[in-house]
Symmetry: C2
Subunit: 139 residues, 2 copies
């Protein structure tokens, strides 16, 4: 599982990116690895009183840019991060509890690819989000 390897491979990941493996970064990575779903940067900050806010935000950005984390936007635009399982995926976002789930569809991917060819300009990527009331929130 990627969740395990994040914690175990932080040092390697960081060095490959030309960054140093430090204590605070390992602490952040260890906490992220323990997270199931999506989380906000602030929530990580609150759970790590021993690490400065700036370091938490910087590390999360670092890992997001490295592709270790992926970012989803809630309907109001606020970002949530989650471990990127590296297969390309989209998001199912519950408007009620703000839970973010992953979603994949090869058929959708194929169509998006086709459409990309028809779009003027150079398509860099796409993002598909479904906003919903999740089964839990439906009671």
């Amino acid at each position: 599982m990627v969740t395990d390897s994040l914690d175990a491979r932080v040092d390697e990941i960081l060095k490959n990116l030309g960054h140093r493996a430090t204590g605070p970064r390992r602490k952040v990575a260890r906490l992220l690895a323990s997270k199931r779903g999506a989380f906000s940067a602030e929530s990580i900050n609150e759970e790590l009183p021993g690490v400065g806010r700036a370091t938490v935000y910087r590390t999360i950005r670092l890992l997001a840019e490295a592709g270790v984390l992926c970012r989803a936007l809630l309907p109001d635009g606020s970002p949530r991060y989650s471990i990127d399982h590296s297969w390309h995926h989209h998001h199912l976002i519950c408007s009620s509890c703000e839970t973010v789930e992953e979603f994949r569809s090869s058929e959708l991917e194929r169509l998006l690819c086709e459409l990309s060819d028809e779009i003027p300009g150079r398509v860099l990527g796409h993002q598909v989000d479904f906003y919903l009331t999740c089964p839990d929130c439906l009671q």
Copy 2:
């Protein structure tokens, strides 16, 4: 065109929503109607020194909730508004100049509908964004 009617029909739109047709709201609507593409709330605020910031933000939110405006999120999560031409559409967002264009595909819509049925929970809506470098920014 919807662009024309927004300016002309603000009073009607507001009253249908149970709100009052006021001078500041008309000023905001008139400016919005003159906009071609997407804009930020702040940019509208800056262009209307005679109207308070709070009123600008409140009016934009009012019109967005009424479906007169639609909101797109830039890759960093910051919102951009544009006149909603009421046909369901998606967005082509230039990562370089931040221009937002509309995009429609009946084939995409059909597939998203099908997928919605397979998704657990009650799907409320979806959002598809293509991030790209627009023809202008490609030089």
